[in-house]
Each structure stands twice: as C-alpha cells, then as structure tokens.
C-alpha cells in the first residue's frame, strides 16, 4: 500500500494493461472508463474521496478500463495480490456490489431523465466537479440529450 500524488490528467491505467492495481482515493477525483469500437468514451465510475477505484478483471488478465485523474489526487495504491492476502474489507465489497447492482437496474429500467434525477440525488457533489458531458457519458447518453433534459427540468420549477 503505497501513497502517491498524481496531477490532474494523469493516466494510471490503460485498457489492456496486465498489472491492474487497486486505487483507494484519499482526496481528489479519479474516473474509470472504456472506449468503444467507435471511439466513444463511456464512464464506468467516478472515484471521489474514500472510493475504491479498480478494474474487476482477475489478476494477470488484461483489464478493460482506463483510469485517470480528473483533479489533482492523492491515492493509496495496492496490487490485488496484496489485498487478497491481507483479507479485504468485506463490507466495502458488499457495498460495491450493491452500487453496481443499482447501476444495472437503473440502466435497464429507467429512461434518461430518471437516471439523471437519480444521479443528482446520489452524487450531488460530483456534478459540480466534472463537465456535464462526463455526467452524460456516465448516464449512457449524449451531452446534447442531457442538455435538453436539464433544460426541461429547470422550466418545470
């Protein structure tokens, strides 16, 4: 478990890397994302303070996600082997599974507007720290679509 400092824009991991590590964010903001075959980015997760950011690929297999820093960030880095040995935090693992389960259900059963409303409630602080197009990417829609949704929501008030 080594503590490191990274600058905004630093890339910690690229898709295809074999030695994918686990990053515990102390301060700042990371993100993980994929790039599809049309070159389009899809944000998989934001990693603010106290979040664990990692690719879930098995040890010694190529990973799927890019990970980079959206702000100057302080992180603790560990290998998966290390974590498995010392016995990981099971409560944190369960919480992560729950987060992913919610995300899947959300993607399958809600339209863009509902997903956005849920996101603003669940991650109110993230919205102010990243450009809207990244929120759109996280929600699985285009920036244009998100712009229209916000427009519509603000009129209603």
């Amino acid at each position: 478990m080594k503590k490191i400092n990274v600058k905004k824009g630093a890339v910690l991991q690229r898709k295809g890397d074999i030695s994918s590590k686990v990053y515990l964010v102390e301060s700042g903001l990371l993100r993980s994302y994929t790039i599809d075959d049309k070159g389009k980015e899809h944000i998989y997760m934001f990693g603010p303070e106290n979040w664990l950011v990692a690719d879930s690929c098995e040890p010694n297999t190529p990973c799927q996600l890019f990970i980079d820093a959206l702000e100057d960030t302080i992180i603790n880095v560990a290998t998966k082997e290390e974590l498995l040995k010392e016995g990981p935090d099971l409560t944190a693992l369960l919480r992560r599974l729950d987060t992913m389960q919610n995300r899947i259900i959300m993607l399958m059963s809600s339209n863009a507007k509902k997903r956005y409303e849920h996101f603003t409630k669940t991650y109110p602080n993230i919205i102010q720290r990243v450009p809207l197009k990244m929120v759109a990417s996280y929600l699985g829609i285009t920036p244009e679509a998100l712009s229209r949704i916000r427009n519509e929501l603000s009129k209603k008030k």
Copy 2:
C-alpha cells in the same frame, strides 16, 4: 448452509424482504429480477449450476430483487452473516464483480444486436432453457425487438 429442493415456479425472495439470503445453485436454474413502476419485469441474472444468486443489499436492509426458480432446483442456502464469518470465496467475488462490470459496459456501449450476440456466446446453454421473452428481458429489450433481431441474423447466414 442448508440444502433445499425447490419446484419450478417457487419464489425464494421478494423485493422488500429484509432477511435476504444467498443461494448457491447445485442443479437447476434460478433467476433474479426487478419489477419497475410500470409493472415491467427486468431480469437481473440467471443462476444455472454452480452460480451464486443473491441480492447485494447490505444485511438487514430491504432487498431489491425477486428470486424464483425457472426449473426444479437444488440449492444451498446461507445467510450473509454466516458467509461473512466463515470468510467468503474471494476469487468467486472477484469473478462476480467482473461479470457485473462487463454487464454495465455492455449495456452502455452496445446496441441490442451486439448484446444478443454476446449473450448467445457467453451463455449458450441458458438460451435453450428459458423462453425468449426472458432473454429479451435480460438484454433490456422487448420480445418483439429480439424476435426481429433473430430474424435478421438468421437471414444473413
């Protein structure tokens, strides 16, 4: 860890239940799913032989998923507390995280046709065991849309 037998159609867990358990499938087939506010079902996961089926909610919180049996099924049941005490199978947990990560990426970056093709490759045996409308529900599309996709794919050959 108690072994039990359930008949096709048996319901093991309902959305909102507090004491959600963990089910290890020995033979047969389970599924977990939600019902959205319009009454529409969304299959979250199929659970064939050797799969672990569970709601990822934290202990003593209301769960989100229904779980029932699509075939006569033999399962080992445990509470989450039990599993946490005896130290869960970390490799299996990591594999599950990987599966969910793939699912999310798939839902965000692929259209219905690609998701279907991926599904047929990844779970070839499930397709033959469940009605198509359930595959559609898992993929996040309507049975009509899946019917048209299959139609189109068969013409190409």
